[in-house]
Symmetry: C2
Subunit: 760 residues, 2 copies
């Protein structure tokens, strides 16, 4: 293919005003310095690292993203593999620590061949991260499943001997692993897995077997093509007894030539909505024998010869880790929200549509169209996403604090914080990732037609982000855990049992003391009162808990029939937590108390209010049903929300700038830092492979036979008789009567065809 001059845009500017001028004007009128807010969130040391790593990646051909939107799966996959290998080299070259690696993975933003959902996501990081510089970057690079699932599982569930055998080569990528749990017929219900590992005392081995089609391991990231080892979850069977799923280290492919081993059927599960640079794979075992040594034996093991099972101790400690993982996810969600908001807000400041008659804009003396960011509907669609991002930041921070407190207490044998923390973190994972999934798509749609182009940067981001709602616990199933804890706590309180004090107990108690509390607001501005906001969220959450307990215990509803309510209970609780943490941080965060940070405190306060009131509006039915709000007050609430949108408007661009997401990361024509949206769109269109030649492949076979057929010449009809063969081909140029008729050629075989290159 050759490049075609016809698809090269002329050297013209976009119509006035220019996007870069519009964004500059937005930045000039902000009430605060976005860099100060970046420093508040990240710290200067971390920003320095971030920028150093950014520069390395931007200048490395293996990390180039400019072809990403055009490539088919094959090319994407190969390039991703290259980036993954290069990432290992860079890491060694620059002696990156875990924080640096997480920054690099985040910036590269590639769902790589060795990456998948992980119950132990970032456990490894846990051991290396410096808590102060830790920013919960959720980028996934090549080999990340190997790093985030395979190695951590061996580390946490292997014996010292097993670590020596498997972990050392894994750290050098001499063995590359994945984590094979999910099966074709079984996802969330781990107890239903079908793959078996039967102990054979005679040879001291396990017989690994897939008894049915549904027992095929499925969705396993990295397994399809890249990994040579897997941790396989299989039902342990010994002496005829089924001990349920246990982890086994299994070699899948030869280390010599990478071919699948005998007894192993393995491959890629095929194309997906997103994540197509990941080789999610399947594997089936036909009585594959593996040594007894390969069952990870720190918590459970089989004795040689007798096949006797040694059972695991209490697993409570692992709940602490889950809290950490989920705090991490909530902190990471902020970046997904900020990314979506950055693109939508910057583009909305550049994109102009219609003249707002009540408030016409001028460019010089000429009336120009209004930036869509001035329309309240657009503000209503995109500003709350930014507020959600800030809300996730403060809750993530608080959860890390609680995690640390809890770890200390558990070390001293005190498990009192754990249940509340675990329940809340489950619900928060569900709430915040669901929120982010919606926000990305809402922001994409808020970009209008161009949001549908991959150049928006939001379409593929949505596709790749979606699995967050399913992995680390399905978002629907997780809420059942949260609700169970809340219902149990409520029942205990009602029964007068002694309970440990914590924030949940405290708001449920308040509710029980005054179940008919109502909202005191008499004017819209009353809704800005943080105490009012807290009482509203607490009352609504407690009311839903009380109502659900009543329906289960008194009205005899089954759990199954209450699943819709159960989901709502968890959501209401977690929205309260987000509001609570945001407001508490604004009151108590010492970093916000200095006079020079007063402008930050101001804008963050508006964000907190917007988060609270917009959420109240979205969930209005529940605030009304619980009796806290009256119908008359809803009008005040709505009016106050609109006023908040207006208050945010001048700071909107600065608020997304503060997240500091670079163009390299966003990879978006619409969300560019410099506002040169249209220049970027046309430049990227020029690179479209279909434009590499002037005439499309398939023209000869599919278009010319139609265009050339059936023409009349002096009464004669010309017809294509067979593909690529024409009896008589005639052309009437329709180039507006400047050319008269031509008899073009007579040809029976394409190779004999005479092509007249007419200059039309």
């Amino acid at each position: 293919m050759t490049t075609a001059p016809s698809a090269k845009f002329p050297n013209l500017r976009p119509a006035e005003p220019q996007g870069s001028d519009l964004l500059a004007a937005e930045r000039a009128r902000a009430s605060f310095n976005p860099y100060d807010l970046s420093v508040f969130m990240y710290g200067e040391e971390w920003i320095g690292r971030f920028n150093r790593i950014l520069e390395i990646l931007e200048n490395d051909p293996a990390m180039d993203k400019s072809k990403r939107y055009y490539s088919g799966r094959d090319d994407r996959f190969s390039h991703a593999l290259w980036s993954a290998r290069r990432m290992v080299e860079l890491q060694r070259e620059h002696k990156w620590n875990a924080t640096d690696i997480s920054i690099a993975d985040f910036l590269l933003d590639e769902s790589g061949p060795v990456c998948n959902h992980s119950d132990y996501h970032h456990i490894l990081s846990l051991m290396n991260f410096d808590a102060h510089t830790f920013q919960s970057l959720s980028g996934t690079s090549q080999f990340s499943l190997h790093k985030n699932m395979f190695m951590p599982t061996i580390m946490s569930q292997g014996t010292d001997e097993q670590k020596a055998k498997f972990l050392a080569p894994a750290q050098k990528y001499q063995i590359i692993g994945c984590y094979a749990q999910t099966e074709l017929g079984h996802g969330s219900n781990v107890q239903g897995l079908e793959t078996t590992a039967t102990y054979i005392p005679e040879t001291d081995e396990f017989d690994l077997h897939s008894p049915t089609l549904t027992s095929s391991k499925w969705w396993i990231g990295g397994l399809g093509k890249a990994a040579n080892h897997a941790i396989v979850m299989a039902r342990l069977i010994s002496n005829g007894k089924d001990y349920g799923p246990h982890p086994f280290v299994v070699q899948i492919r030869s280390l010599v030539n990478h071919r699948p081993l005998r007894g192993v059927t393995v491959g890629d599960i095929g194309p997906k909505f997103g994540f197509n640079t990941v080789d999610n794979g399947f594997v089936m075992f036909d009585h594959l024998h593996i040594p007894r040594f390969n069952m990870l034996a720190r918590f459970a093991s089989i004795k040689p010869n007798t096949g006797e099972y040694a059972s695991p101790p209490n697993a409570k400690l692992s709940y602490g880790t889950m809290v950490f993982v989920r705090a991490n996810i909530v902190m990471g969600v902020r970046f997904a929200l900020a990314r979506a908001a950055t693109v939508a807000i910057r583009y909305s400041a550049v994109r102009q549509q219609f003249v707002d008659a009540a408030n016409p804009k001028k460019h010089g003396s000429r009336v120009v169209e209004t930036p869509v960011l001035d329309y309240t509907m657009q503000q209503y669609r995109v500003f709350p996403v930014m507020a959600q991002a800030y809300a996730c930041y403060f809750t993530g921070k608080e959860m890390f604090r609680l995690y640390n407190d809890n770890q200390k207490q558990m070390g001293a044998g005190d498990f009192s914080l754990l249940a509340d923390l675990h329940a809340t973190s489950s619900g928060l994972k569900s709430l915040t990732t669901t929120m982010a999934v919606s926000a990305i798509e809402d922001c994409r749609r808020a970009c209008g037609g161009h949001g549908y182009s991959l150049f928006s940067g939001l379409a593929s981001f949505y596709q790749d982000y979606l699995p967050n709602a399913t992995w680390e616990g399905d978002n629907y199933i997780l809420t059942q855990q949260t609700a169970r804890y809340l219902l149990k706590t409520f029942r205990n309180l009602v029964a007068g049992k002694s309970v440990l004090q914590n924030p949940t107990v405290s708001y449920l108690t308040t509710y029980l003391q005054n179940p008919t509390a109502t909202c005191p607001a008499t004017t819209p501005t009353d809704f800005l009162n943080p105490e009012l906001q807290l009482s509203a969220f607490a009352h609504r959450a407690a009311h839903l808990v009380a109502q659900t307990v009543d329906q289960l215990d008194r009205q005899g509803r089954t759990w199954n029939s209450m699943l819709v309510e159960v989901n709502r209970v968890s959501r209401a609780h977690c929205q309260l937590v987000l509001v609570q943490n945001f407001l508490a941080a604004l009151q108590s965060d010492s970093d916000l108390r200095t006079p020079e940070r007063a402008p930050l405190k101001n804008v963050l306060t508006t964000q907190a209010q917007l988060y609270a009131l917009h959420t109240m509006e979205t969930e209005l039915a529940e605030f009304l049903t619980c009796g806290y709000l009256s119908p008359a007050q809803t009008q005040m609430l709505k009016s106050q929300t609109l006023d908040l949108l207006a208050a945010v408007r001048p700071d909107a661009v600065a608020l997304v700038d503060a997240f500091g997401l670079p163009d390299y990361y966003l990879n978006s024509a619409l969300g560019r830092q410099d506002g040169k949206v249209y220049e970027a769109m046309t430049h990227m269109a020029e690179q479209e492979p279909l434009n590499h030649s002037d005439v499309v492949a398939g023209y000869e076979e599919c278009i010319r036979p139609l265009v050339w057929a059936g023409k009349k010449i002096e009464g004669a009809t010309v017809e294509v008789v067979k593909e690529r063969q024409a009896k008589l081909v005639f052309l009437e140029s329709t180039h507006y009567a400047r050319l008269s008729l031509f008899v073009l050629c007579i040809c029976m075989r394409p190779e004999k065809q005479v092509h007249l290159h007419l200059d039309l």
Copy 2:
């Protein structure tokens, strides 16, 4: 590439019970015969045609869909072009009429190179369709923009001479056209278009020109690669005066060799979220001269030499056409909803997860997991989608009836129906397509992990369906039209002006007579009363209208600040229309009165109730805010909705079967008619191109250097020094101690490398 035995699944069955048995059991317990419902909706004659065409497509290699999910854009595009050409041949071969063609396009379900959003979508069809067999199939085939936009525009806006010149060759595909309106910087605001067509009296031509980068035509379906002509909307300028956008027929590419003409910069705009078989294109003009003849002149024209402008007559008649187009869209939305529901419901009947302790399932004597369709949360997620599909059917039908009445009345000079019909049809287009977009994604997610696989059939369907929310009028902007009409009608009523009677006037009047009406329900079953449902929806819609008028007229709010409310007003009105038409049809449709159709009437009544009550629940805040519902009644409403889900449960599979969407159309492993979900998933995975070879491309460069490097042999370290070069490569087989150490080879250049094919 060769096929690899390692990725061939063993001949095993899924675990019991089999999907086919589960679906058979579902079908056996339905309360009605789905074929009767199909006949009620489609008629037997149409079903016969549908099946005949289905058979032709299923057996034509050009219409094969089995490669669709694996192909990159290039291959998809070429194959789509082939299908488009073949479709023209089939149409000629079988002498298909417009209905047949629409069925074939629907079944092929391909977004083809010549397809785009169209303000005149299906206008052509309008002239040929038999009203009785017309089912509003919205499939898009190749050349559909040519058929649905290029030709209809010439037909409706061209003079007889222009039709003779352009339409005759277009019908034979000798010229292939597209419709170029949208520009890089201008979408919905047509008046803001920048492209100019300046009349040159000296040569009696127009000078077509793109003055800025933003004036580039953009998103134009079919333009990128396939079309050789375009209708270009450009600002008509004559004698220095700007008459705003007018349509011009412009040749873009040579008819000889398909190369772009001089003065034309044209190409494809690049990859998109979906619709990647469509060549949405851009075009810029550098002072391209075209004859005066090419300005479509039925309504407006330029006189030769003087350049005098003749202005268009009243365009009111075209509103009638827009009603038709939108009725058609609503009718088509039902298929999108039904398709999503069919996949999600069938798969939910086959997919099993956890044992529901309160209600354990048995297979033989063994307790098995519960089909997810038995969980209320799942029912709550998917059943309402089916109810929405039926609701769209009845409203689509009613809109066609009203359209016909209105056409007759307008023919007799009576325009009284038009305003209401136009306003309602705008809002309905917005509401129902927004509903379908959400429903498809909700159903995809309700399929759990496998919903993320392209084999679900819902992921790519979502991507390709999305543009419906933007074209034919942006869904947000359209609601402003609906709201404007409602507010105006309300103001007229309040002012005591005489107004024409219509359903809108009637419910607004009722509200004005009793603005404080409340819901009379005292038990959950009271909510099943159709009159209660209608009053509830009418009261809520009217209240929103009244409140919005109050805020605009009395409180002095600007239109811009009310856009969020405006959107709600339109939605509330249109939801009322959907409920109204559904309930009215059940009462009055003569086809439902026969005794043998009593079972149909029963199930449809449950669907109507579910649509109404589920919608009330979703929009609960507004029903509470308007004072109609009390907080205490919401519990009854929710309880009744759950009871409806239980009532639908036994008929769920039959209700989606009734839509009669064949496997060829669904192209889904999960939604198969026979329930063989897991067999289909594994079969489709085997076809994944990455599985064509055992060892992935990139292994040599990216994986082997890591796996082979750094191994120790008797204390020596081996390292890869450069890509594809190794100093000393060593392998320790980790195949579980059955093989001991090997020194594999020493190689400095890959071509000299010794490959040992070990049988591990």
